[in-house]
């Protein structure tokens, strides 16, 4: 049985990011891989050792303030889980929270969990629009599409980006990187949401989760016509190859 954990679904739930959880669950169910969902809210306990896929979305500033104490108390356990190879997807605000700090426009420094080596600086210009990135998953080159909407610019330290930008702004609008990756932690600004129409990426996460539990990681192929159409449409909009 795989366990998917959605952290703070009531608070960190901007921009339809719960679609990532839906996509992971459904693609397991369609293959008869037993899977369950744990929704963990403020003050509720969770044992990360029992979790196979952890999803952390973004919220508004107010909502992120509400969860910061609670999340801070989970830091040690989260650190351990990351080192143990827990598969984590963190999007937008969730991505920023795992980093060192967030500096506001008023120069106030809001500490992050400090689990990953990057920091974010607020800017007056919002990065909004469709995005495509190219990422390398076990030597498989993959194009991924989504939508970004963030005022924070993230600067990576000693950590790999999730992928290279093909179109859009990415982490900071300057260095051509998008997101961050450490072990099995995948961070990104991509909404859309990310997983449903990038089904090859989703299946990669499922394989990682199965592999970590020593379960059979050969996945039955599914009819992905709608996924491919949605993905291709965005690639062709952005005038990238792989589209129609």
């Amino acid at each position: 049985m795989l366990t998917v954990c959605h952290l703070y679904p009531d608070l960190l739930n901007l921009y339809g990011d719960r679609g990532n959880v839906i996509a992971f669950l459904q693609r397991c169910r369609w293959r008869n891989i037993p899977v369950q969902l744990l929704e963990v809210n403020l003050g509720e306990t969770v044992d990360f050792n029992q979790v196979d896929f952890l999803f952390l979305g973004g919220g508004s500033d107010r909502e992120q303030n509400l969860i910061s104490d609670d999340l801070g108390q989970r830091k040690v356990f989260l650190h351990q889980a990351i080192e143990d190879g827990l598969i984590i997807l963190a999007i937008c605000g969730g991505y920023q929270l795992l980093g060192q700090y967030y500096r506001t426009l008023e120069n106030e420094v809001i500490p992050g969990l400090g689990l990953l080596d990057y920091y974010t600086v607020a800017s007056t210009k919002r990065f909004i629009g469709n995005v495509a990135i190219e990422l390398n998953l076990d030597n498989q080159i993959l194009k991924v599409t989504g939508f970004e909407n963030h005022a924070g610019k993230t600067h990576l330290g000693n950590i790999e980006p999730l992928g290279n930008l093909l179109s859009g702004y990415g982490n900071n609008g300057k260095d051509g990187t998008e997101g961050a990756r450490y072990k099995n932690v995948f961070c990104s600004y991509l909404h859309g949401p990310l997983l449903p129409k990038n089904s090859v990426f989703t299946d990669h996460l499922i394989k990682l989760a199965l592999c970590r539990r020593n379960m059979n990681k050969e996945l039955i192929s599914l009819n992905d016509e709608f996924e491919k159409d949605a993905h291709k449409l965005m690639l062709s909009r952005l005038k990238l190859s792989g589209g129609d």
């Binding site: 009531d10 719960r18 996509a23 459904q26 909502e63 909404h191 949401p193 449409l233």
Partner: protein, 467 residues
């Protein structure tokens, strides 16, 4: 001043004519042109309004509420100017006053009823001083245009602080709206809906805000209507749903249409709504409140509400051969969820059409589709919905959303071109056709429907009645 104003009005009117000749809708263009010629045109036209200016703001229900208010005021014999098509940016507001003005720039109306876009509200009130502001609700909408919901609410709050001598008409059931009564110190009239007895509706969990706008504590709900609307109080501080001045009780629904008793100052009046959808009860309540504020009697208010016919896409009715066809504009998760609940409450089998565009006016980000509870459609009996037709510039994405909601893919057809998709769904085998479209797909969908199907006017006999 007079000269410039009259040139601006003339040019605006001319622009409207030219635009219509070339097939445009021209709902904001006269405003753009008139403002370019004379920047004070809106201010000078608005200050001629003889009695009062009422503004309607909020995420959902602005157009319907404003049009219902207009019908009530007209039933009371007042001369009104209102932006009935929902052009609610400052240019649209200007355009509606330009249209109502004489060629010499004179406005003769008693009341101006203006729905105003939330982001434009601070700008509009710099030029137009309202006497009454109605706030319907705050839900997430087109986030890529506005930023986050909290910012929208803060924007409205700041703007309200700058106004003097106004009366607020607030939806008490929405904590995000009700808080504005306490934090702005204006005179407030609250409306709300009582607990529904024996009411069955699918549980849709997505809520905007379960947390107190004042202290951040968790809000406890005695009951919900939908989204964050209901009866609540904060577990940490004194914030609670305000006492209602106007309340809807004894709510009943027949085939998706609402009946209720509206209570105001010791009296209750029976109301049968002629618009489908629970959210229209809120719209009618807001309009009813304005009628009461204007000291109109209930018979006139009801007469006005009876004359309300839905604006384009606001549950617009058509008939195709022997089938009922409903056109439902959807712009955000809450509106879409309520549309789905209305669809489920309609009798008989359905063919469903869903068009999603991602032009600027729709919002380029379509992520919000994943906050809509399409899952409730998957739990229906196999035959209840015969087919889903997905259309628009992001047709594949809505198909994808339905697939992940658990709809069998053999029921889903993707036809991006509206010209082909609308006829295809009308030819479906079900007893009724239900069309959902985002903003920019609405106009084409409506035009195609008008060509193929008969636009239905309400007549009292065909309405479900509950006595």
């Amino acid at each position: 001043m007079y000269f410039f104003r009259s040139i601006a009005v003339l040019s605006g009117k001319l622009a409207a004519k030219l635009s219509r000749l070339t097939g445009g809708r021209g709902s904001s263009l006269p405003g753009v042109v008139a403002r370019r010629i004379y920047s004070r045109v809106l201010q000078e036209l608005a200050c001629q309004i003889k009695k009062e200016i009422i503004m309607v703001i909020g995420t959902n229900g602005k157009t319907t509420t404003n049009n219902m208010i207009a019908k009530i005021m007209q039933a009371g014999g007042h001369k009104v100017v209102f932006n009935e098509e929902g052009a609610n940016l400052i240019t649209g507001v200007t355009a509606c006053l330009v249209r109502s003005a004489s060629y010499t720039g004179v406005v003769e109306s008693d009341y101006a009823l203006l729905e105003v876009d939330e982001a434009s509200f601070p700008k509009v009130i710099q030029e137009v001083q309202p006497q009454i502001v109605v706030i319907t609700n705050f839900f997430r909408d087109q986030l890529d245009r506005y930023g986050e919901l909290d910012k929208t609410v803060a924007l409205i709050k700041n703007a309200l602080h700058k106004l003097n001598d106004i009366t607020l008409v607030l939806n008490a059931d929405d904590p995000l709206v009700a808080q504005l009564g306490q934090s702005t110190k204006h005179k407030v009239i609250y409306y709300g809906v009582a607990r529904q007895q024996n009411w069955e509706r699918p549980a849709i969990q997505t809520r905007e805000s379960r947390f107190c706008p004042f202290c951040g504590g968790e809000l406890h709900y005695h009951y919900y209507h939908y989204s964050q609307l209901g009866d609540y109080n904060c577990l940490q501080c004194a914030f609670t749903r305000p006492e209602l001045n106007l309340e809807a009780i004894n709510i009943k629904t027949v085939n998706g249409y609402i009946n209720a008793d509206i209570c105001y100052q010791e009296n209750c009046y029976h109301l049968s709504l002629r618009a489908a959808g629970f959210y229209n009860l809120y719209n009618a309540l807001a309009a009813f409140t304005i009628g009461c504020l204007m000291e109109m009697n209930d018979a006139i208010i009801k007469k006005g509400l009876d004359r309300y016919t839905p604006a384009i896409g606001r549950m617009e009715h058509f008939r195709y051969q022997d089938k009922l066809v409903l056109l439902n504009l959807v712009k955000n998760p809450t509106g879409y969820n309520e549309g789905l609940v209305t669809l489920l409450a309609m009798p008989g089998t359905k063919d469903v059409f869903m068009a999603v565009n991602d032009n600027d006016a729709d919002g380029q980000d379509i992520s919000w589709l994943w906050d809509v509870e399409f899952e409730i459609l998957a739990s229906l009996p196999e035959e209840a919905i015969k087919s889903f037709t997905c259309s628009g510039t992001r047709a594949a994405e809505i198909a994808l959303r339905l697939k992940y909601a658990g709809i069998p893919i053999n029921k889903i057809t993707v036809i991006p071109d509206l010209e082909q998709a609308v006829p295809a769904v009308l030819h479906g085998k079900a007893k009724m056709t239900y069309l959902f479209t985002t903003y920019t797909a609405l106009w084409s969908a409506q035009r195609i429907l008008c060509e193929l199907a008969k636009k239905e006017q309400f007549d009292a006999d065909s309405m479900p009645s509950v006595s």
